[in-house]
């Protein structure tokens, strides 16, 4: 009965490979996010989808491509992986897009630790 689940938990791969991370939420939320946590522990937003529509697209290399097949799923595909992509990637969801304080509460998945060798 995990609220926000993402797979895999760990991903070790070689430079240049393409990989995907999957995320699903069973909270009935309309909005989903991808956040990246680097080695300095800062959590930074990458993308946000609201009802399958891309809302936020931060300054992220276009090697990163999110895809939301439905509002309960948000996947992240990364092409041509580089050493600097090594980080923990968190999926999150909120009830709706931020138009009231109650929708600013994010629920996070347990993260995917990506190591690029």
């Amino acid at each position: 009965d995990t609220a926000v689940s993402q797979t895999p938990k760990y991903l070790v791969t070689q430079m240049g490979n393409d990989k995907s991370i999957k995320c699903e939420q069973n909270l009935g939320h309309d909005t989903m996010y991808w956040y990246k946590q680097d080695s300095k522990k800062f959590l930074k937003i990458m993308f946000s989808y609201n009802n399958k529509e891309l809302i936020i697209n931060e300054t992220v290399p276009n090697r990163f491509s999110p895809k939301s097949p439905d509002k309960a799923h948000l996947n992240l595909h990364i092409n041509s992986l580089e050493l600097g992509d090594s980080a923990v990637y968190f999926c999150a969801s909120s009830q709706d897009f931020f138009d009231s304080p109650s929708n600013e509460k994010l629920f996070f998945g347990s993260g995917t630790q990506l190591s690029v060798l």
């Binding site: 909005t31 959590l43 930074k44 809302i55 936020i56 509460k105």
Partner: protein, 112 residues
Amino acid sequence: EDKVVQSPLSLVVHEGDTVTLNCSYEVTNFRSLLWYKQEKKAPTFLFMLTSSGIEKKSGRLSSILDKKELFSILNITATQTGDSAVYLCAVPETDSWGKLQFGAGTQVVVTP
């Protein structure tokens, strides 16, 4: 530019001690401030504060917001080893809905 600064960056305490964590912020249009606890995995929600002076409590944890001085405090009393974690403070960014700006976090280690 919006900014969230947490202090201290880390601290080590003994079980039973009280810890006070600080979060100062700069946002043009404040809406809320959130505290999360991160223990190796998912950040888990602790508190959301929107009004000054109203203390939020959950067991041994409490938090208060000062909108005039632009900071929040998270207190943990009678600490236990299970309180060891990184505590993150976040505020929604001014110019864009849907973005939380996080501080660097405070790593708390509680020793037996």
